[in-house]
């Protein structure tokens, strides 16, 4: 029987710049699959991942108008995962970083948290990891 742990993952840095977001998604999926609780703390430009402005689908490719493919946005993917996680995934967004970058239209499924509560949440977790840089 899995010993249920709380995994704290801080994700920092802009989407599209590296594959850190992809790595985060894979770690989240694997941690939840193994029966652990996951707390994500989105910092810096990672607060952009969960903006309502992204809507659910990316714009089309334009050059392949016949293509019948829907490309999901990160906010849609994260929303879906939170809803299907039965409470095992909690996604926090740093309030300071959100305000500093104008990412104020956060999806309803995430929790905007006071910036310094990050240390508390990290200390409460069994395992913590910071992914990315400012």
């Amino acid at each position: 029987m899995t010993d249920k742990k709380t995994v704290f993952l801080e994700i920092v840095g802009a989407p599209h710049e590296t594959d850190s977001i992809t790595s985060l998604f894979r770690i989240i999926h694997e941690s939840l699959s193994q029966g652990h609780n996951v707390e994500v703390w989105a910092c810096g430009y990672a607060t952009m991942l969960t903006r309502k402005a992204l809507t659910d689908t990316k714009p089309g490719t334009y050059i392949y108008p016949e293509e019948d493919i829907t490309y999901p946005t990160t906010s849609h993917l994260i929303k879906e995962l939170i809803q299907s996680s039965d409470g095992d995934l909690r996604w926090g967004v740093c309030e300071y970083c959100k305000n500093d970058r104008g990412a104020n239209d956060q999806i309803d499924e995430v929790e905007v948290m006071m910036s310094m509560s990050m240390l508390t949440r990290m200390n409460l977790a069994d395992v913590s990891m910071v992914i990315g840089t400012f």
């Binding site: 599209h16 710049e17 999926h29 490309y71 879906e80």
Partner: protein, 134 residues
């Protein structure tokens, strides 16, 4: 899209930072951008450097990522992307020394991709009006 605006200016797209934003970007990578430029009436060529030479490997497989109950199967397939670029009449070059240092033989490249050395790259830059280095 509106009517394509014809341009006589030629651009060389040189890309060397590879595999960024797999989940965020999906299809919106440099090869796609080169097709967009061509579709808008631009005259462009694509050079793959450093890790980006891996984009030009033949026999690449489709990849997907499981994220909770969601399977993200709209990730970039660079084999198809490069083949599509070539099919649109855009020349594609791969830096030879970057291929060789990664154990990639010329025969491992997608048919139509040309391997070039540094001197040839310098000439390509000279032969184009603009060089975009991504």
């Amino acid at each position: 899209m509106g009517r394509a605006r014809r341009s006589q200016v030629s651009s060389l797209i040189i890309v060397e930072r590879a595999f960024r934003g797999t989940v965020e970007s999906q299809y919106s990578h440099a090869p796609w951008m080169s097709e967009m430029v061509k579709a808008m009436g631009g005259n462009t060529s694509l050079v793959l450097k450093s890790h980006c030479v891996l984009y030009a490997l033949n026999k690449q497989q489709d990849v997907s990522i499981d994220f909770g109950n969601y399977k993200i199967n709209t990730l970039a397939n660079y084999n198809k992307a490069i083949s599509s670029v070539l099919a649109r009449g855009i020349p594609v070059y791969a830096k030879l020394d970057d291929c060789l240092s990664r154990g990639i033989a010329i025969n491992d490249l997608i048919n139509g991709v040309k391997a070039i050395n540094t001197l040839a790259l310098a000439k390509l830059i000279d032969d184009h009006d603009k060089a975009w280095f991504w």
